[in-house]
């Protein structure tokens, strides 16, 4: 196929998504450097918040603020980031259970090397200076003492 022509081919879908009252609040709070969860009837706090309790189906609307630091519950090291990954240096995708939350949030953790990562390690959000109400307002999480 040495003589075969190649060309870039870009498929682009300009979607907009209505986020609803619960995720709308979550994204709005990110702009103010705050992370919101939602409390279920049995007292658990889901982060990111959901409109309906995944266990009972009950509508949820009691938003509660949680910390921007927490614990890594599981992680996967990305040795060779791809162009669309959140970080361009090696990093970890991790589930982070924030202080005050009962569920974990998926995000990137910037660690100097894979052996700096561990389940149970504490991490803290690194916020973007200019925030737009998007999950990328958190650049990544970083190891925290």
């Amino acid at each position: 196929m040495a003589d075969a022509l190649t060309a870039p081919h870009i498929l682009e879908y300009p979607y907009t998504r209505s986020v609803g009252p619960v995720l709308g609040a979550f994204f709005g709070a990110l702009k103010e450097r705050r992370i919101l969860g939602v409390r279920t009837a049995d007292g658990r706090v889901l982060v990111p918040p959901q409109e309906y309790d995944p266990e009972t189906g009950a509508a949820l609307d009691e938003l509660v603020e949680v910390a921007d630091a927490g614990v890594v519950t599981t992680w996967a090291w990305v040795a060779e980031p791809r162009p669309k990954h959140p970080l361009q240096e090696p990093f970890a995708f991790a589930l982070v259970r924030l202080d005050g939350a009962d569920t974990a949030l998926l995000h990137a953790v910037a660690a100097p090397a894979m052996d700096a990562m561990a389940t149970g390690m504490r991490v803290r959000a690194r916020w973007r200076d200019e925030r737009s109400g998007d999950i990328t307002d958190i650049v990544c999480f970083e190891p925290a003492p």
Binding site: D3, A7, I10, V19, G28
Partner: protein
């Protein structure tokens, strides 16, 4: 502070590298010389445009390359009235199957230089090529097809190519 009706932009962008393959590459390179290449099936004798390596009907390897004309007949068409983002031409316009002279399978292209509502089956059209310095190995090197002014082709001429 939450707007329950807030919408967020969530564009999806997929970056591909398209590899044309040897047959399509030959076709696309010929376009640079303003030549349209098809290939004839040694079994059913049909000429497929763009050229390909095997006949989709007979499954056999294609025979020789055949240069076909850049003129042809509108066999079927549709008129596009609804605009969408990224559209290159202003609606209404006609997109048509064009049976090039010498080919048995129509290609799909844009018909311009005629009001969309006057586009019809049997209309004789010709390719309008880009200027030399804008040619590239792409079907877009043909800007569009336009009427030749010849009399319409009779239905009999293209009825087996719809």
């Amino acid at each position: 502070m939450s707007d329950p009706y807030a919408v967020v932009a969530r564009p999806v962008r997929l970056d591909y590298t398209y590899t044309a393959g040897t047959a399509s590459s030959r076709f696309l390179r010929a376009i640079m010389q303003r030549r349209l290449l098809g290939s004839r099936c040694p079994s059913c004798a049909k000429v497929y445009v763009p050229l390909r390596t095997s006949c989709p009907t007979c499954g056999v390897e294609m025979g020789e390359d055949v240069a076909v004309s850049d003129r042809g007949i509108v066999t079927t068409f549709c008129i596009v009235n609804i605009p969408f983002p990224g559209m290159a031409v202003k609606p209404p316009f006609a997109a048509a199957s064009v049976l090039l002279d010498g080919a048995d399978i129509p290609i799909f292209h844009l018909i311009q230089e005629i009001p969309a509502e006057e586009v019809r089956m049997g209309l004789r059209v010709e390719a309008v090529w880009r200027p030399d310095d804008e040619m590239e190995p792409s079907m877009e090197s043909i800007r569009h097809f336009r009427p030749t002014g010849e009399p319409d082709a009779p239905f009999e001429r293209y009825k087996d190519h719809l």
